[in-house]
Amino acid sequence: MSLPLRWPTPDGLPPRALWVTVGGVLLLLVLSAPLVEFNPLFLLGKLDDMGSFVLRMFEKAPPLDYLPQLGQKMLETLEMAVLATLIATALSLPIGILAARNATPHPLVGQIMRDVLSFFRALPELVWALVFVSAIGLGPFPGVLAIAVVSLGFMAKFFAEAIEVTDTGPVEGIAATGASRMQVRLFAMLPQALPDFVGTLLYVLDHNIRAATVLGIVGAGGIGFDLINSIRYFEFERLIVILLAIYLAVTLVDRLSDRLRDRIIIGGGYRHGS
């Protein structure tokens, strides 16, 4: 080890921008400490409570008779996430084209679309779920709608941005053959934007599975309902099983999507002459 290190600046001292940023952040932390009710002594005193909370999850044997219901609920959770992602994907292709500055039929339409999408994104899934549950009742349907709305906001935005940064060469090339505006979008813009879009899609699917696991808290279907109940009724042996199941499902999908992303974005493309 060769500490202490000189800073990579001419005088070997930390740059001023760093001092200013760190100082500003520290000041804000101190100022906002009362707002988050931060109290180190309180936290230290609570360490025991946290320990006993964790221990209580392992006190009793895991409830084996609960496993079938767990499987069913996890399946429901995954299905909600997949269905919502599919709906959002189908809608985000046309809406993304309408929202992209270089593909929109009219600048006003583009601006309106971008504002609507930003409105969809502004509220997290749980809030949308609360509203939809009040509107159409309990069950997975409001959950699917809630996830789909937020995903649409994100996917259409990213898709529009991917279209906006496409190379103009192919666009001009196809336009020069006398293609219509629709054909230019289909054959010059879409093929360039799609690889990015697939990356976004996988990222959103990943996020949606996580989101679907908690929507049950407000009655919108999935494993979340069992989860909140096991906390409410202090059934900690059930809680740990649910947590493990969620962890496993999320990790599996994460790994799978990482692999798919590598194949599609890096390795899957056509290589001339190979």
Partner: protein
């Protein structure tokens, strides 16, 4: 250039499997919809009810605004504390989770797994657990946000460290630099801009998510929204929703402005 007499063979016409994949996807969606017992009928026959329901949000009541603004401020503070926590933890773990820098194979695997674990548990869930073990209030919320997003920031930073031009690391290797020196002189300086971009994005996200943590008792504006919706007090709910949307959209604009300045 000489005239090209050799015409390379045309690449094979790519197979177009679009119709196959399209059909399969539609079939999957249909199966899931049937299994979840989702019937579009609810939407088609119930659209009047739904419109009537959304009509109830028509007259927002802004009389409680100062109190709500205070709650919103609490939400923002929660997101800020969570982000600082996430930044510190991510900053410490990331070098070990970068394949090209991690000193040993096991440190790489361990750091990767820790980050994966932090990312895997959703923050609302973490908040539930922290509230159950630490009690109500914004602090468990900030902790939950911090732990969850530390996994993201650590992963992002590690990936950025992996993408740094290898020449920079090799130059330092050549003068006999160790792990910490490579980080200090090649790693962090090369990714400063990306790091600040990611951190701003996470701050944005944490404030957004912080708005719902109140639903599980972790402080912030979510509590007020949950209470007003439960008591069917639509005027107050509408005011809260509008306040949340406006604040979040403003913050969104602000952070994208800062991000574009950084580049």
């Amino acid at each position: 250039m000489a005239a090209n007499t050799h015409v390379p063979p045309l690449p094979p016409r790519p197979r177009n499997l679009f119709s196959l994949w399209g059909t399969l996807t539609l079939g999957l969606a249909w199966l899931i919809a049937v299994h979840l017992e989702i019937s579009p009928k609810t939407l088609i026959y119930g659209w009047q009810d739904i419109l009537e329901y959304f009509g109830r949000y028509g007259s927002p009541d802004f009389s409680q605004t100062p109190e709500y603004l205070k709650l919103m401020l609490e939400t923002i503070a929660m997101g800020f504390w969570g982000t600082v926590f996430a930044f510190i933890v991510g900053f410490l773990i990331a070098p070990f989770a970068a394949r090209n820098l991690s000193p040993k194979a096991w440190t790489y695997n361990l750091a990767r797994e820790v980050l994966n674990f932090m990312r895997a548990v959703p923050d609302v869930l973490l908040a539930l657990i922290f509230v159950a073990s630490l009690g109500l209030g914004p602090l468990p919320g900030a902790l939950a946000l911090g732990v969850h997003t530390a996994g993201f920031l650590g992963k992002f930073f590690a990936e950025s460290l992996e993408r740094v031009d290898r020449g920079r690391y090799e130059a330092l290797d050549a003068v006999g630099a160790g792990f910490s020196q490579k980080l200090m002189y090649a790693g962090w300086p090369s990714i400063l801009r990306e790091m600040s971009g990611y951190t701003l994005y996470i701050l944005d996200r944490n404030i957004r998510t912080g708005a719902v943590l109140g639903l599980v008792g972790a402080g912030g504006i979510g509590i007020a929204l949950y209470d007003t919706l439960r008591m069917f007090d639509y005027d107050q709910s509408a005011a809260l929703l509008i306040l949340m949307i406006v604040t979040i959209m403003l913050l969104d604009r602000l952070s994208s402005l800062i991000r574009s300045k950084l580049q």
